[in-house]
């Protein structure tokens, strides 16, 4: 139906009397779109333009800011804050991989093995949402507290020696280390990984597993050659729904981390809300946006799934 002339238009060409009714009909989609699109244009696109202009302004809070096309701000922001950028990408990337590794078995369990427990498990995955994520993140402060049971166990098993050597923890502390931040990010975005994974796994016809088995595939081969490829749409949208918000997050770094674990979100937040250096803050968030959009585009291209909305 993507032919240049729609059925309605073809009818118009041949039959003048129906012209007015058809015209009204053709305007219907635009009326439906108008309010929502206007909302997005004014409160999503226009702000981006304002932010773009802010990022090339100079001045101070007292004297006001002027647009001076000062692109130097971008370079300065990048050179000053590149460690935070790299850290953000590293933490978000690690959390995404962990989410996939942790989330896949659970999604698989719910989709294929849960039987009559399926709905209960789904509820348990979604229910934590209803307790504010800030409260739940604060709970990790208790769980990972110095000298607490979790740290004690990790210490006894010499796990902390390994993570310490990797630079993820310091001494026998977990709180205020990169490990705590990544752990919090992973925790916070796990449901966003599990739900799309579950949706795409659940659609798979279980007879395909039987067919693969019938055609001499061992269970592990069946998973590699049939199940996992078919769940790719879920993997792609799950990783995006995890990585994108994680890369801009500052809550976990603030609550569970220290000054050494500051992510780019923390920098943008403090530039905007405490230091009030608007041009730098605007430039930083544009750089973050550009990095994320470029990575997402490349990722979607490579994964070959375009239809995410």
């Amino acid at each position: 139906m993507s032919a240049p002339a729609t059925p309605a238009q073809a009818a118009v060409a041949a039959e003048p009397p129906v012209h007015r009714a058809s015209l009204r009909k053709r305007l219907v989609p635009y009326w439906l779109l108008l309010p929502g699109i206007l909302w997005l244009l004014v409160f999503f696109v226009l702000p981006m333009i304002y932010q773009a202009s802010t990022s090339v302004q100079t001045g101070s809070l007292e004297e006001g800011f002027q647009v001076t096309w000062h692109f130097q701000t971008y370079w300065d922001a990048l050179t000053e804050y590149y460690p935070q950028f790299l850290r953000s990408l590293l933490y978000a990337g690690t959390a995404t991989v962990l989410c996939l590794l942790l989330g896949y078995p659970l999604a698989y369990l719910i989709a294929f093995k849960a039987g009559r427990w399926r709905n209960l498990l789904l509820v348990l995955v979604i229910a934590p949402f209803f307790t504010s994520f800030l409260i739940r993140t604060l709970a990790w402060k208790t769980i990972l507290a110095d000298g607490g049971p979790v740290v004690g166990v990790l210490n006894t098993l010499h796990v902390l020696d390994v993570t310490s050597w990797l630079g993820m923890t310091q001494g026998d502390r977990v709180l205020a280390t990169p490990l705590a931040v990544v752990c919090g990010l992973t925790y916070n975005f796990l449901p966003f990984m599990i739900l799309p994974l579950y949706t795409s796994l659940e659609r798979i016809d279980t007879r395909l597993h039987e067919a693969a088995g019938d055609l001499y595939a061992r269970p592990s081969t069946t998973f590699r050659k049939v199940t996992f490829p078919l769940s790719m749409p879920g993997v792609v949208s799950g990783t995006l729904l995890t990585f994108i918000p994680a890369s801009g997050d500052y809550v976990n770094a603030e609550l569970l981390g220290s000054t050494d674990t500051r992510m780019i979100g923390n920098v943008i937040q403090s530039q905007y809300l405490r230091i009030l250096d608007y041009p730098t803050a605007a430039a930083l968030s544009f750089i973050l946006m550009a990095i994320v959009l470029i990575m997402v585009t490349i990722y979607i291209r490579r994964a070959g799934t375009e239809d995410l909305v």
Binding site: L102, K113, V125, L134
Partner: protein
């Protein structure tokens, strides 16, 4: 050993589930704590004080009711606007379709902080007072795309012949929409609305940038993480969790009963 290998997925899956549930358990347990200092991070002794007086902390319940208000209005706004867009996208051919699709997709593909910061840039430049209205505007904006996605999926799976059948059976355009299209699209619209409510109610980052001095519930929790965490936030967190689970379970039971009541 064999048993272990066969149930590896189950073991790992339940492990993940435990990881996801653990904080909720901690939140619940610590709602019965009687902490020594200002912070409720270490177990001291059992106490029901907080449960007896959940609003006993200044501004806590006020922030909760503000969050609920904003969530209700944001859900309403985003659901109406988003449903209209979803219908336009699925049911009509028009120019600029690709552009509209990208415009819907972008807010979902952008770190929240970028939208938060740019909205703040707009409000500052326009000299708009930050508060209830700026929060509501922002929430409708970022919930919109999720509603579109949910409704679109449902409408796409709907047989267009159902609407043709209605028109064939003497239902005009309005009747067709009210009696056939809307009831069938309802689960998608409900899903979008529910998602909006949850996203808006729990939103922190965008609200943090655009709230000025207005304090929503997540803002209150954030502030208390700096100043001292009252036990009451655990009480409210636990109560919401329990209410949500109960609502789902009751809904399930009613659904099952209705299904069983019908002759097969």
């Amino acid at each position: 050993m064999r048993w272990l290998r066969r149930n590896l997925v189950v073991i790992f899956g339940l492990g993940t589930l435990a990881y996801m549930i653990l904080p909720n358990v901690v939140v619940t347990v610590f709602s019965f704590n009687n902490p020594a200092g200002r912070f409720n991070y270490a177990w001291q002794e059992f106490s029901l004080d907080a449960w007896k007086d959940p609003c006993g902390v200044a501004d806590l319940c006020g922030s909760l009711s503000l969050s609920l208000q904003i969530a209700v209005w944001a859900t309403l706004g985003a659901t109406v606007l988003g449903t209209a867009i979803a219908f336009a996208l699925v049911r009509y051919r028009f120019r600029a379709r690709g552009a509209v699709n990208s415009l819907i997709f972008l807010p979902m593909a952008m770190p929240e902080i970028v939208m938060a910061a740019s909205l703040l840039a707009l409000f500052l430049n326009m000299g708009i007072q930050l508060g209830f209205w700026t929060i509501l505007i922002a929430h409708i904006m970022f919930c919109l795309s999720f509603v579109v996605a949910a409704v679109k999926a449902r409408v796409l799976s709907m047989d267009p012949r159902l609407e043709e059948a209605a028109r064939d059976l003497y239902a005009g355009p309005v009747q067709t929409f009210l009696r056939v299209t809307l009831p069938i699209a309802a689960p998608g619209i409900a899903a979008g609305a529910l998602l909006s409510f949850a996203l808006s109610f729990d939103d922190f980052i965008i609200t943090n940038f655009n709230s000025g001095n207005t304090v929503t519930f997540p803002m209150f929790v954030w502030g208390s993480a700096q100043r001292g965490t009252p036990v009451q936030i655990n009480v409210i967190g636990t109560a919401m969790f329990v209410i949500a689970v109960l609502v789902v379970l009751v809904g399930q039971m009613v659904g099952n009963r209705r299904k069983n009541a019908q002759p097969k």
